[in-house]
Amino acid sequence: MITKMNHVSIFVLDQESAYEFYVNKLGFKVHTDAPIGPGMRWLTVCPPGQPDLELSLMSIEEGPMFKGEAAKQMKELVKKGTFGFGVFQCTDLNATYEELKSKGVVFKKPPTKEFYAYEALFVDDSGNWFSLGEKPKE
């Protein structure tokens, strides 16, 4: 029986810039930052309220994962905003939207009432987009 997820990969164009975005703008916590060798860095961050879910900020390089032209193609797709990696949650969407906007986070959609939820859409520094929703009020 699968009980939970503890790692998710987010492909980024530049790990240093991703660190600045996820840690200093979104306020995520660094879980592991291991410079393993030239061009090899294992960097994972966690949303503040979810310390056991590591988001692995993966650089895109040619290797076993991306063979031949695939790395270049993948970078292009990320840049174009092809990938949406998930839905984040906050306590209050309007306040979080105001705060992130003041820190320079780019929103594709401001807080909007949709059929299924009240949500906004933002993009990270690479072009990946995320939905941001609100925890239902008790």
Binding site: I36, G37, W42, M58, P64, T91, N94, E98
Partner: protein, 146 residues
């Protein structure tokens, strides 16, 4: 006439960012609610609705998080206490233990031990599927002679 919602959010966010920046100062709620141009009680209610914590609870949270960062960088516990705005080492140590279930000294030691282990054996911190897909396993084993 009631304030428009966007104006209220703007003020609450401003107060939160004020705490984020000035956490090391001897802040009290009056400073912060003045910063937001609210009455104290109205401010506490709005802040808690937005962030799930009262301004005071949030200030403690920020101070503890900043303290963790200083501890990770090897700053002595006695200095960390004042750097993050606590008035006495005993109140800092007590609160830190209450929130983190370990003393600041223990936190610092465990972090240092983890960093040493990470340096010695980084692959043991990375799910194998990722190391293999990234092509890190063989070069690293070779570099570490294992």
């Amino acid at each position: 006439m009631p304030y428009p919602k966007a104006y209220l959010y703007h003020r609450v966010v401003k107060a939160k960012l004020f705490i984020d920046t000035n956490f090391y100062l001897p802040l009290d709620l009056n400073n912060i609610s003045n910063e937001a141009f609210f009455s104290k009680y109205h401010f506490i209610r709005l802040f808690k609705n937005s962030y799930g914590r009262t301004p005071h609870q949030y200030l403690i949270y920020v101070r503890i998080e900043k303290a963790k960062n200083y501890l990770k960088h090897g700053v002595p516990v006695s200095e960390v206490c004042f750097k993050v705005g606590f008035e006495s080492p005993s109140s800092f140590a007590g609160l830190f233990k209450k929130v983190c279930q370990q003393t600041p000294g223990e936190y610092q030691r465990l972090y240092k031990r983890r960093q040493e282990a990470l340096k010695k054996s980084p692959l043991s911190f990375i799910p194998n599927c990722f190391s293999e897909q990234k092509g890190w396993v063989y070069p690293l084993k070779e570099a570490l002679n294992c």
